[in-house]
């Protein structure tokens, strides 16, 4: 197990190396550059050239890449062109928001999706089954930005149950040692700050949960249906075990294997930032920041963030593989 983890972590190095080259070439091939973003259409060629020079963009690409790599080895991702702050600082400040949003969305998707998928399978062919399959289809079909706007319009603006924007009310003067606003509130015992942060998470969490929810309903349903037909479930029934034991120990445990994989993949996906949801709810996570960085051609931010996201994605997948081997003894990692 330990060797498996180490090997996978070592594999991360060539992966990131390759990704950095791709990223570098791709970003610098994009039409326009930071100078256009800074000056707009009115800048003179001389002004543009001066900005390019000051940012070191006039050097050959290989030189630029060399410099980037040299700094990267010292764990320095450079400075954002638009905010003039270190990329790492920006990431540390914004990533917690995305993590909180991801956790909220996954808790909703798992908490509702898995039980619903399970019930749909147990009563396959019933109204509940058709409704949940239809509902999950709707979940995948409705565009997130639309759903997000509807949620915002109804529950925030019309009914006023939830805040419409941001991660925390501006009137709350909370301290943020970790930038995980909910965690900060708990750590500093500012309960109202924590509650307010949770309140702000609900609508964007719901919007972001729609697709993982739909996927989990379907995968759980299909998987439970398959396991219900397995011989070992019949053996469990033949033992005269109570329905509860048959369900928990024999059906659910086996049915959860494919579901666990999807949960891992979906979590990794959501952690890469939810541009649409974050934009609609003015939620400051990495999605919103990345979107701005693309418009501003903020090369250091894009390079740094995408590399960090790749690292996180790989780590999440590694965690999935390890946990998979814990639930399924047939998959022993070496």
């Amino acid at each position: 197990m330990f060797r498996f983890i180490v090997r996978r972590l070592l594999l991360l190095i060539p992966t990131l190396f390759g990704l950095s080259i791709l990223l570098f070439v791709w970003l610098h091939r994009l039409p326009g550059g930071p100078e256009t973003a800074i000056l707009g259409e009115r800048g003179t060629p001389e002004m543009r050239a001066q900005i390019r020079r000051s940012l070191g963009l006039d050097e050959p690409l290989l030189m630029q890449y060399g410099r980037f790599m040299k700094r990267l080895l010292q764990l320095d991702l450079g400075t954002s062109i638009s905010t003039k702050r270190e990329v790492t600082t920006e990431f540390i400040q914004r990533f917690p928001g995305t993590v909180e949003l991801t956790i909220t969305a996954m808790v909703i998707a798992i908490g509702v999706g898995i039980p619903l998928g399970y019930l749909a399978a147990r009563r396959s062919g019933s109204i509940l089954d058709h409704a949940s399959v239809g509902g999950s289809l709707l979940g995948t079909c409705i565009p997130i930005f639309f759903l997000a706007y509807v949620l915002k319009a109804v529950f925030a603006e019309w009914l006023g149950w939830f805040p419409a924007i941001g991660r925390q009310d501006s009137s709350i003067d909370a301290t943020h040692p970790t930038n995980f606003f909910v965690l900060d509130g708990l750590l500093t015992r500012e309960w109202d700050a924590a509650a307010d942060a949770i309140w702000h998470l609900i609508l964007p969490g719901l919007a972001l949960a729609s697709i993982p929810f739909a996927i989990l309903v379907r995968i759980t349903r299909a998987s439970v249906l398959e396991v219900l037909g397995e011989d070992f479930v019949r053996t469990a029934e033949a033992k005269g075990l109570t329905e509860r034991v048959v369900r928990r120990r024999h059906v659910l445990r086996n049915a959860m294997l494919p579901v666990a994989t999807s949960i891992g993949l979906l979590t990794g996906l959501l952690l890469s930032g939810a541009v649409l949801t974050e934009t609609v709810f003015g939620f400051s996570g990495i999605g919103l920041f990345l979107y701005e960085a693309i418009s501003n051609r903020d090369y250091p931010v894009l390079q740094g963030f995408i590399l960090l996201i790749a690292v996180i994605f790989t780590l999440v997948n590694l965690a999935v593989d390890v946990s998979y081997s814990l639930i399924d003894p047939r998959v022993r990692v070496r």
Binding site: E230, D231, F232, R234, T235, A236, E237, A238, K239, G240, L241, T242, E243, V245, R249, H250, R253, N254, L257, I327, D328, P329, R330
Partner: protein, 327 residues
């Protein structure tokens, strides 16, 4: 009185938009305490469905069960789910065909054995584990303490079947149903498993219903044999009598298709022609008639009745194979 009395058992599968299937069509047989009774027939003759119906394991939707199955005074077919769960695994236990798929792949063998003990014998913790080890030892699994911690995929096919048998006999059931228990195993292992079953039922006076398509399996261990065809018993006799003087052409066909070592070279096996799909509905005559060489006019039209003889041997045929005169 017999331990189990099955009277006129029928199972019908109905699915919307599909033809109704009479999988079991009026099957009757009885099993005495300590007796080994065989249900023999080709795939699709209704033998497995019969056993699942007795266990109450048929799918709740779509399957209709009729007739009666009296187990020591209890009508099995009339029991609700909860009471059936109390009997299953305790008084009536079952061994299935494919030991790999019949064991839960993600749970150690130990728990799969102890959960029956916990459920029906009120054991817990160490006592259950100790008893589980005893059971594995009794069915011939070496080093049982270590095996308890292992998962099904770490055991060989024969071991797995032994583990399933251990689970089935864990609560000393009075009736054991074995559904093709050796089909998925190597020939040498088959013999060992049959030997083990024989030993277990002899030692504990357990009644055994042996479901198989293989008359060779039956020959070594069964007291009473019921041959099934298209959902009905077509011949029923004590083992010696059935092998010595089979009367139903289908039974004769089955016996002829067993490969034997003691026949001369060049003698061919005689298969039964056609397949189970060439069936006449019982209401229109003998279901076996389309495949039968001894078919006569009387075979078609009326369903043939079960003809009893004075020795307890009975057959369902209007033109039975004559008993060979023995010198």
């Amino acid at each position: 009185m017999a331990l189990l009395d099955v009277e006129d058992l029928s199972v019908t599968f109905r699915r919307r938009g599909q033809r109704t299937v009479h999988a079991v069509d009026g099957v009757s047989f009885s099993v005495d305490a300590g007796e080994v009774v065989a249900l023999v027939g080709e795939s699709g003759c209704g033998k497995s469905v019969t056993s699942l119906a007795l266990m109450g394991l048929l799918p709740r939707r779509g399957a209709q069960v009729g007739g009666s199955a009296n187990f020591d005074g209890t009508e099995l077919l009339a029991l609700d789910q909860r009471s059936m769960r109390d009997i299953r695994g305790k008084d009536v236990a079952m061994i299935f065909q494919d030991p790999l798929s019949s064991l839960n792949p993600v749970i150690p063998i130990g728990i799969q054995v102890t959960e029956v003990l916990v459920r029906h014998r009120g054991m817990s913790g160490d006592a259950a584990r100790k008893e589980a080890a005893n059971l594995l030892d009794r069915v011939g699994i070496p080093d049982p303490r270590r095996r308890l911690k292992e998962y099904p995929h770490q055991l060989s096919g024969g071991m797995r079947q032994r583990a399933l048998i251990a689970i089935a006999v864990a609560c000393q059931p009075r009736l054991l149903i074995a559904d093709e228990p050796t089909t998925a195993l190597d020939v040498t292992i088959q013999a060992q498993i049959l030997e083990l079953l024989k030993e277990l039922v002899r030692d504990s006076n357990t009644a055994l219903i042996m479901i198989t398509h293989d008359l060779g399996v039956v020959a070594g261990m069964c007291d009473m044999i019921n041959v099934l065809y298209a959902g009905r018993v077509v011949e029923s006799a004590r083992r010696k009598e059935l092998f010595a003087a089979p009367r139903h052409p289908y039974t004769v066909g089955l016996l002829r298709s067993i490969p034997r070592l003691d026949v001369g070279r060049g003698e061919k096996l005689t298969p039964i022609r056609g397949s189970v799909r060439d069936v006449l509905p019982w209401s229109e005559g003998c279901a076996f008639a389309p495949r039968c060489d001894r078919r006569i006019d009387a075979s078609i039209g009326e369903p043939p009745p079960m003809v009893p003889t004075h020795t307890g041997h009975s057959y369902r045929c209007v033109n039975p194979v004559p008993v060979e005169e023995k010198a």
